[in-house]
């Protein structure tokens, strides 16, 4: 458990691992993870930090042996991992409790599977429940518990296994802010006290503060495809104080990396190469309305720090970053490190009236969003000034999996509707040119018809 323990034999070795999924048109395969190299040492806490689409949950499932890598290999104790990894327990984001079992029975499933005697199972299970403060609720059913208590059962179920490696998949993100904070503190204290019933922890998160609070090192993942950008060590003494200047400094550093995907991390020699072909057509999953709303919130001249903004809006970074991406794509915002500023056009747009805002947005989309331009060209070419939705999906499906392609398609529809650039009728699955301002409303009616 001591943090000084020398890394003799890693618990888990991930070597050149890639995970590919079939693209929507079936012609090619899209990489979710690419060339991942990572060792998990005994006694350490590793946080996997990345934006959505960075494949961090996929990496966690690869480590658990729930899915197999498409390329590369994963070794456990020096031997290739086949099937489910017997060293691990998982704490799930959605708790994954069986609703028909009591808290006690839910906690005991793993021990039962090991074939331990009934008495021994009960003794250990009660001890684990006591550790998470649930000894009084042993006979309750999960539906009788609050979200926080349910996740405590999730922890107890993992603790009771005393796993060499505990995998946590965004364990706090389904909980409300206060409950999550409470539970995080408890975990931190257990670990700091050396009483933690697991050898090592890998935690997947998109919350920077969570990563800094819990980890010994933070592995930063890039998105589309997920690659390791670099590793940031976290030597802060435990238990950690999230108001300490050193803590804040580390949070700021990580913010810096997260808001600027191209910034090289630490000593990592790996410069993340641009994946232009894919980024070219992708749209960040944000609504145009949110972009405009955010513009009006940013002080015009001086800008604002991203961390401050996230705090102020009580937005998860995962929700905030796509909005910033959209703003940057439309060249309305400029993010420099952790500092968010407005471009000249962004300032104009923030002050304009609604009609003018829509006109500006239409312009920017035609100028800077490749997918929109492809659509515009197709509309001009078409004799009847109509384009089938499948045309756009076909363009996207060359590069994305089906779900990704559909997500981008939905974003596109919401964008063109928000500014009335084109019209789209879902029933007929067709795009048509918009005829100037005010037809955003019309296209909605079209959808109803």
């Amino acid at each position: 458990m001591e943090t000084e323990s020398l890394p003799s034999q890693p618990l888990l070795k991930v070597r050149h691992v890639a995970k590919l999924f079939r693209s929507a048109d079936g012609s090619s395969r899209v990489a979710v993870l690419d060339d991942i190299d990572l060792d998990i040492q005994p006694g350490e806490v590793v946080a996997l930090l990345g934006r959505s689409g960075s494949g961090k949950s996929t990496l966690l499932r690869l480590m658990a042996g729930l899915i197999a890598p498409s390329e590369g290999r994963i070794e456990r104790d020096g031997r290739p991992l086949t099937g489910v990894n017997r060293d691990v327990a998982i704490v799930f984001q959605s708790f994954a409790l069986l609703p028909w079992l009591t808290v006690l029975e839910n906690t005991a499933v793993g021990l039962e599977a090991r074939g331990l005697g009934e008495k021994e199972v009960r003794r250990r299970t009660l001890r684990a429940l006591a550790m998470v403060g649930l000894e009084g609720s042993a006979e309750a059913y999960p539906r009788e518990l609050s979200g926080g208590m349910r996740q405590r059962v999730g922890f107890a179920r993992a603790f009771v296994m005393e796993p060499a490696l505990l995998l946590m998949d965004e364990p706090f993100s389904a909980l409300d802010v206060l409950t999550a904070e409470n539970l995080r503190r408890d975990i931190d204290e257990l670990w700091a006290g050396g009483k933690f019933p697991a050898g090592s922890i890998v935690i997947v998160t998109h919350s920077i503060e969570e990563a800094v609070l819990l980890s010994d090192r933070v592995v930063l993942l890039s998105a589309n495809p997920g690659r390791i950008r670099g590793v940031v060590p976290n030597p802060l003494p435990r238990p950690r104080d999230d108001t300490a200047p050193a803590f804040r400094a580390l949070v700021d550093t990580l913010y810096n990396y997260m808001t600027d995907p191209d910034k090289p991390v630490g000593t990592s020699p790996l410069a993340v190469e641009q994946t232009t072909s894919q980024d070219a057509l992708a749209l960040p999953p944000a609504s145009l309305g949110a972009v405009v709303d955010l513009l009006t919130l940013v002080p015009e001249q001086e800008g604002i720090s991203v961390a401050e903004l996230a705090d102020e809006l009580v937005l998860e970074l995962d929700d905030l970053l796509p909005i910033l991406d959209a703003g940057e794509l439309l060249q309305l915002m400029a993010v420099d490190g952790t500092h968010l500023g407005l471009t000249a056009l962004g300032q104009d747009l923030a002050e304009a009236n609604e009609e003018e805002q829509q006109r500006l947005l239409r312009n920017q989309m035609l100028l800077h969003v490749p997918l929109v331009r492809r659509l515009q060209e197709a509309l001009e070419q078409s004799a009847k000034a109509e384009v089938e939705g499948d045309f756009v999906l076909d363009l996207l499906s060359e590069q994305f999996t089906k779900t990704e392609a559909e997500a981008v398609f939905e974003t596109l529809v919401s964008w063109i509707r928000a500014c009335g650039l084109f019209r789209y009728s879902r029933e007929q699955d067709r795009f048509r040119p918009g005829d100037g301002p005010g037809d955003a409303l019309e296209s909605e009616e079209d959808d109803q018809a």
Binding site: A96, E112, A113
Partner: protein, 592 residues
């Protein structure tokens, strides 16, 4: 930006003279549109003319003593017979939907109607429809003297009674679960009764009604085929259709004809699925109440074709504007007189209605048995109960057996999303095959190896019933959330523990739904499975099904009546004493 300079968009390269790729982007060109419209027009005309000529043949004159002579075994005539059967099915479906909407609206609005009608509907839905054919056929023949319409009506009545109860419950339930805020909004904005129905209630119930209608339709084929050729009171009544074709093939021992009929049936199921149900299911998805879209939106090539047709769009416009005055008139008539709009859904629960229903049920049962005792005596009544017990045992065997055999299979399929997506529509189609079309093959095998029908009829009864178990349990298994599956893998649940702690509880509710439906189907099937014929050979085994079938054939009214009451009591009894408590247990224990 780098990509602006580097990338030459596809369409600029393709020049304007020939645009090979732009066809993709454009709407189908003129020629294709024209072709599509012509094809649809022809199809529409064929359907209209077909329905017209078929329905004119429904009313041809008919003499009750004509034998099976009307059915020609030439396989080339099968499409005609199939069309006759399908027309009956669709008319019956329309009637069922109308009744369901009418009764469902009533029960959802009036607490008295709810308390009074729903128990009645519940009992009626567990009554074996087939047994009542003997009672309703003479009634309808008397209603339309000298015309085949009487038989047609009786057949449709049988189909309707097979599906309408289910649909009533479904509609009632969907109205009950309309979000309160939508109801309030419709009152605040002063919806008329008509608006309330077309703008709120029908759309809100569309998805469950479509699914339920599809399932009921699949089950309806059994009644449709069975009611086309029945013998009541020593005379045979025959309606042209796929069922009577098979009946004639059985009488003449023509296994090849039965096979042709089966092939026709399969084709019919696929066609109705592709041209009718698939488009409707896809279309109805726009009525989803929760705003997040379906996980896997269904697709229908036929619906896409219809939506692309300009002819149809034009037709729709004309029809829409033509019906506008009608809608306005309906709005005027249904405008609420009070100031605060249509009455809200009532909430009071008059207990006395419950007691009244109970009392009426008890009195009806006592009177029925008194009547039977007087007519056939105590010995016969006990005999009927004994026969009922025998069939009850068979029903249990059907449900138990199909569970034991199909549960592992369902788990294997259900836990593999790709297999499930592939096989579930196939299962639904297989479930639609009316089991009685398969009986001749088994009868021949039984005759050949001398297998007694006492056990053999369990297999026959299972033919139709098993699919409900398989279908529901597969759906249950594939509905297990992915995180729970991963949990069971990571925590190494294996063997007995995996089944006891994880799989069985996870699929329990789905299994009950399947088992209830399966046992209902098995009870109905017993009437045709405990007495089968092949030409001059007759196989019979004791049981309440053969008891009813025999009484029907011989026109033995007292025994028929007794048999029906006994079977209804068994079905209602098991529903109330076994399935309902199990269901409640499942909801309390296993619900989230």
């Amino acid at each position: 930006m780098a990509l602006e300079a580097g990338r030459v968009p596809r369409f600029e390269r393709a020049g304007s003279a020939s645009r090979p790729t732009s066809a993709l982007a454009e709407r189908p060109d003129r020629a294709r549109t024209l072709l599509l419209d012509t094809a649809l027009l022809l199809l529409g005309l064929t359907v209209v003319v077909g329905i017209g000529s078929l329905s004119s043949q429904m009313a041809v004159s008919f003499h009750p003593h004509a034998q099976l002579s009307g059915v020609d075994l030439n396989p080339l005539l099968l499409p005609y017979y199939a069309a006759r059967s399908s027309l009956r099915m669709f008319i019956a479906l329309a009637i069922s939907l109308t009744i369901a909407v009418a009764v469902g609206s009533l029960t959802a609005r009036s607490a008295v109607a709810e308390r009074l009608l729903l128990p009645l509907v519940d009992v009626l839905q567990s009554v074996p429809v087939l047994g009542f054919l003997a009672v309703i056929v003479p009634f309808f023949i008397a209603l339309f003297p000298g015309s085949l319409l009487g038989l047609e009506a009786a057949a449709m009545f049988a189909i309707v009674t097979g599906q309408v109860w289910n649909l009533i419950f479904c509609y009632h339930q969907s109205l009950r679960t309309i979000p309160a805020e939508l109801r309030e909004a419709s009152r605040v904005y002063g919806f008329t009764g008509w608006q309330q129905m077309v703008r709120l209630e029908l759309p809100a119930s569309a998805i469950p009604m479509v699914w339920n209608g599809m399932m009921s339709f699949a089950g309806g084929w059994f009644f449709a085929t069975q009611s086309e050729a029945i013998s009541v009171n020593n005379s045979n009544y025959t309606l042209p259709g796929i069922g009577s074709y098979v009946a004639a093939a059985i009488a003449q021992q023509r296994l090849d004809c039965v096979l042709w009929a089966l092939v026709m049936m399969l084709a019919l199921i696929v066609i109705t699925d592709q041209l009718f149900w698939r488009p409707i299911v896809t279309w109805s998805e726009q009525f989803r109440l929760d705003t997040n879209s379906a996980a896997t939106p269904s697709q229908s090539w036929f619906l896409e074709m219809l939506q692309q047709s300009e002819l149809l769009q034009q037709l729709g416009h004309w029809l829409g504007s033509g019906l506008l005055p009608l809608g306005a008139a309906l709005n005027r008539w249904t405008r609420s007189r009070g100031r605060d709009g249509p009455a809200p859904l009532q909430k009071l629960e008059p207990r006395w209605v419950d007691n009244l229903v109970l009392l009426a049920g008890a009195i009806a049962t006592v009177v029925a048995f008194h009547h039977s005792l007087q007519q056939v005596g105590l010995g016969e009544t006990l005999n009927a109960f004994g026969q009922g017990l025998l069939t009850f045992g068979r029903v249990l065997a059907v449900v138990g057996g199909s569970t034991l055999i199909l549960l592992p299979l369902a788990v294997v399929i259900g836990l593999r999303p790709r297999w499930a997506a592939l096989l579930q529509p196939v299962m639904l189609m297989l479930a639609s095959i009316p089991a009685n079309l398969l009986f001749p093959f088994f009868t021949v095998v039984f005759l050949f190896c001398g297998m007694p029908l006492f056990y053999g009829c369990v297999v026959l009864m299972a033919m139709g019933a098993q699919w409900y178990v398989l279908f529901n349990v597969t759906a249950g298994a594939s509905a297990i959330p992915n995180d729970l599956r991963e949990m069971s893998q990571v925590f190494q649940l294996k063997g007995r523990q995996r089944w006891r702690r994880f799989l069985l509880p996870a699929m329990f509710s789905a299994w009950i739904t399947g088992a209830v439906t399966a046992s209902g189907a098995a009870w109905n099937a017993s009437i045709v499975a405990e007495l089968v014929t092949w030409g001059s050979h007759t196989l019979q085994t004791p049981g309440i099904g053969s008891y009813i079938a025999e009484a029907t054939a011989h026109g033995d009214q007292p025994r028929l009546f007794l048999g029906l009451v006994v079977m209804a009591l068994f079905v209602v009894g098991t529903n109330r004493l076994v399935w309902r408590p199990l269901y409640r247990f499942a909801e309390e224990r296993y619900g989230n």
